[in-house]
């Protein structure tokens, strides 16, 4: 969209228009982003979008007033606290604030970017700006442990819930194995029904409408496709978004990739 915008600006007579083609994906590899306190509240906190919120002030300053959900790690302690952070490949967005949106936040952000975290965002104006905007403030002890749970995809069932169903095979639930026949022949979860994903559209009649359907495959990809097909037909369906290995005894191992 930026090249199109640039073209239109030139049409208006601007003579020195450039495009930063690499844009945000490259920027965040070496630099932090910024957002206002209002954006932090509206785009992240109010919408409950998973993120990590760091209060990098000294713990005693933070306890006098902080933003709900923040974890306390002083700027100077970031480097020795890296083990507390979610693995980098989770790409957890990290929001950092200090008192005024100053050096502490920048220092903490740089320490995280230097070891490969992205995206890292600094809250402009820091806690003072948050308070000045009249947003809610909490006092007391801050959390010290970072909890980051990526938002599940629509229809995704937790591994724990799936494992429970697979072990107990409740009567009101059908586990639908959507792998192909060869995979099914090598071993299936007890009580599961095999309908390869590519056959689902032709075999709706074999899939009961009065049961909850839980689809799985070997990675979650085909199971999700099956989920959408069944969902569209009005089924009560969920899917397992995880790696599954099943042996010829029906014993299974589930792993989050």
């Amino acid at each position: 969209m930026s090249p199109d915008s640039a073209r239109r600006a030139e049409k208006l007579g601007y003579t020195n228009v450039k495009v930063y083609v690499d844009g945000t994906p490259e920027w965040v590899k070496r630099n932090y982003l910024v957002l206002s306190t209002q954006f932090l509240k509206e785009a992240w906190i109010d919408k409950d979008i998973p993120h990590v919120l760091l209060d990098v002030r000294a713990a005693k300053d933070a306890e006098a007033g902080f933003i709900k959900g923040a974890v306390s790690i002083a700027a100077a302690d970031i480097e020795k606290s890296l083990a507390k952070f979610p693995p980098k490949d989770k790409k957890a967005p990290i929001m950092i604030y200090d008192q005024k949106g100053g050096d502490d936040a920048v220092k903490a952000a740089k320490a995280l970017i230097a070891v490969g975290y992205a995206p890292v965002d600094i809250v402009s104006g820091g806690f003072d700006a948050w308070k000045a905007a009249g947003f809610p403030v909490q006092t007391g002890k801050l959390a010290e442990t970072i909890v980051y749970v990526p938002k599940p995809r629509p229809g995704e069932m937790s591994i724990d819930d799936f494992a429970k169903i697979a072990k107990t095979t409740p009567a009101d639930t059908l586990i639908l194995d959507v792998r192909n026949r060869d995979e099914g022949n090598a071993g299936m979860i007890k009580g599961a029904k095999l309908v390869p994903d590519e056959e689902i559209l032709d075999r709706f009649s074999e899939i009961p409408k009065d049961k909850k359907i839980v689809a799985h495959c070997s990675t979650g990809v085909r199971a999700e496709m099956a989920y959408h097909k069944l969902k569209e037909k009005g089924y009560n369906v969920q899917f397992l978004n995880a790696k599954v290995e099943i042996n010829d005894k029906g014993e299974f191992k589930i792993e989050k990739p």
């Binding site: 969209m1 930026s2 090249p3 199109d4 915008s5 640039a6 239109r8 600006a9 208006l12 007579g13 601007y14 003579t15 020195n16 228009v17 450039k18 495009v19 930063y20 083609v21 690499d22 844009g23 945000t24 994906p25 490259e26 920027w27 070496r30 630099n31 932090y32 982003l33 910024v34 957002l35 954006f39 509206e42 785009a43 992240w44 967005p93 995206p119 965002d121 792998r179 192909n180 390869p196 994903d197 590519e198 559209l201 495959c217 990809v221 085909r222 999700e224 496709m225 959408h228 097909k229 969902k231 569209e232 037909k233 009005g234």
Partner: protein
């Protein structure tokens, strides 16, 4: 939720009218839930056309030869076979026979398809290519870093984030203002009075 209700409802309607064989086919079509075929982000430049979907690539399963594509909130799944044409996709070295695996989740794609018995069959997957920008008009990360370090007054520049507001709200490059591409006309007054001033646009890159 609303969508789900509509689709369930229409399905019921389709079933009912299906009993009156004669005109059923035409009516069923009219009553079928109309899924979008062009994602909003693609709709800035492209109109819907029959037999073509434009959206964001989601996943591929070579075992079942299926592609999953997102059209905003909706999801479309299409089958394909060996005859599938693929454009603008560079296969990864470790899976040369499965080029669609190299497509990143979210990549804008156009899919041409045929439909039979309500099943969509992809004939072409074409990934969006970056719009060409003349080399002299491009700036690199280092250039932007230098300017941002100086600030707009000293660096005499205006940095503009052309992404939609929700993306900008999630975090923008320091000192940038947000003028989403579709709002260009409406927000013309945000551009500087000095027509010779350096203006730099960015968005979410070429991917």
């Amino acid at each position: 939720m609303l969508l789900k209700c509509i689709s369930t409802f229409s399905f019921a309607v389709a079933l009912t009218i299906g009993m009156f064989a004669g005109q059923a086919v035409a009516q069923e079509k009219a009553a079928a839930p109309t899924k979008p075929t062009v994602a909003k982000v693609c709709g800035n430049c492209h109109q819907p056309q029959p037999g073509t979907i434009r959206g964001n690539f989601d996943s591929v399963a070579y075992k079942t030869r299926s592609i999953q594509v997102k059209i905003d909130e909706a999801t479309e799944i299409l089958r394909f076979d060996d005859k599938l044409k693929i454009e603008n996709v560079q296969a990864l070295v470790d899976s040369p026979d499965q080029p669609l695996r190299s497509l990143k989740k979210g990549k804008e794609v156009r899919i041409d398809y045929t439909e039979k018995d309500g099943k969509k069959f992809a004939t072409l997957v074409s990934a969006k290519t970056p719009i060409k920008v003349a080399p002299e008009k491009m700036v690199k990360t280092e250039d932007v870093e230098k300017l941002v370090a100086q600030g707009p007054e000293k660096g005499k520049y205006l940095l503009i984030d052309a992404r939609p507001l929700p993306r900008f709200q999630e975090g923008g490059i320091p000192t940038a203002i947000n003028i989403p591409f579709p709002a260009f006309e409406k927000m013309k007054d945000k551009l500087p009075a000095d027509k010779a001033m350096l203006i730099i646009y960015y968005c979410a890159g070429v991917t």
